[in-house]
Symmetry: C2
Subunit: 206 residues, 2 copies
């Protein structure tokens, strides 16, 4: 049977592919991760990832969809934040910040997700990861959520949201500062929702 | 003349002291930094720092004052945040968040301070630095500011303040996410002050 993996195996070159144990999808992902980290999101093309992995660009699209999708896959987030945040968007402005925080906490508070997320978060704060956060995560993941929410100036407001949520992640999950680390999810939601709601919807100073 | 440095030089042992080029103060600071990072603030005594530097504990107090002062000195912050924040405290509740943010930005926006602060900030986010942030910076520097401001539950409210200010530092100065990175200081103050004021003074959910 001619699986995509089988087709690719015939073409693949370099990068230490072991014949007989081809994992084209993992190869592409490894190349994507390497190039996104080295060059940033904006300067990495699907074509360059394909060339690095020794496959045809069509195969990259076949496995991963768009470059945005490839980026999200390369982040190895246990869940696709764009799908996860769909309910925040679908239910409109009222309570949007609460829903956003509640979804966000349900993922981070889950012990199965916690460790991979901490790894991802740490890697985004390293010098090579900063470009991924700045040029990838924000424009690919976060700002589109704001656009689909229909907020004004998502390119300003979503970074403001990020500035609070990232600080919360750091203190609650990474540095584990009390009492934030041990607060119930509902108390975190109630504490931070008015702030997130302000960043999303309130008039802001020019 | 018997300077403190001269007295110490006679006693100092180990740790690669170069005879003829004694810098007791720097030795103590290096020991303090090493022990605070390895053991955390709570488990490091002035006596242990003195022993590691090969000097008498009295000399540590002579140079640095209390253990809190030694900790602040070991952080190598270009300014003592406790002195810096005194005006926030002295002028009471009205506009406290604005004053806090304005002072904070005046230091971080100063090109002379920026690089050492970025270095410090990065080191606090490394695994060995996390304990310093959790067990040192918050209880020694930040929570006392809240206490002196006379806010309720400073041990809750100052970590909330930190969760926003740390996220702001990350996006404005470390990752340099636009438009936050290029905003005027006054716009940053106006954007974030209501949030900080809420964390300092508003009723919070239990």
């Amino acid at each position: 049977m001619s699986t995509p993996s089988g087709r690719a195996a015939g073409r693949a070159v370099g990068r230490g592919r072991r014949p007989g144990a081809p994992d084209t999808r993992a190869e592409i992902l490894a190349s994507a991760r390497e190039l996104f980290a080295a060059r940033g999101f904006g300067s990495t093309s699907v074509r360059a990832v394909a060339a690095d992995a020794g496959v045809d660009p069509a195969l990259v699209h076949h496995y991963f969809g768009t470059k945005d999708d490839l980026f999200v896959a390369a982040l190895e987030i246990p869940v696709d934040p764009r799908e996860l945040l769909a309910p925040v968007i679908d239910q409109g402005e009222d309570g949007a910040a609460e829903r956003l925080l509640r979804i966000f906490l349900s993922v981070w508070d889950d012990p199965e997700h916690r460790l991979p997320l901490i790894g991802l978060f740490r890697s985004l704060l390293e010098p090579t990861g900063e470009r991924l956060l700045r040029e990838g995560f924000l424009p690919v993941v976060l700002i589109p959520v704001g656009e689909r929410l229909g907020i004004e100036s998502p390119e300003l407001r979503m970074p403001l949201v990020a500035s609070q949520v990232i600080g919360l992640i750091l203190l609650r999950y990474i540095v584990e500062v009390e009492p934030i680390a041990s607060m119930s999810a509902e108390r975190v939601v109630a504490t931070y929702a008015p702030v997130i709601q302000r960043y999303l919807f309130d008039p802001l100073p020019e």
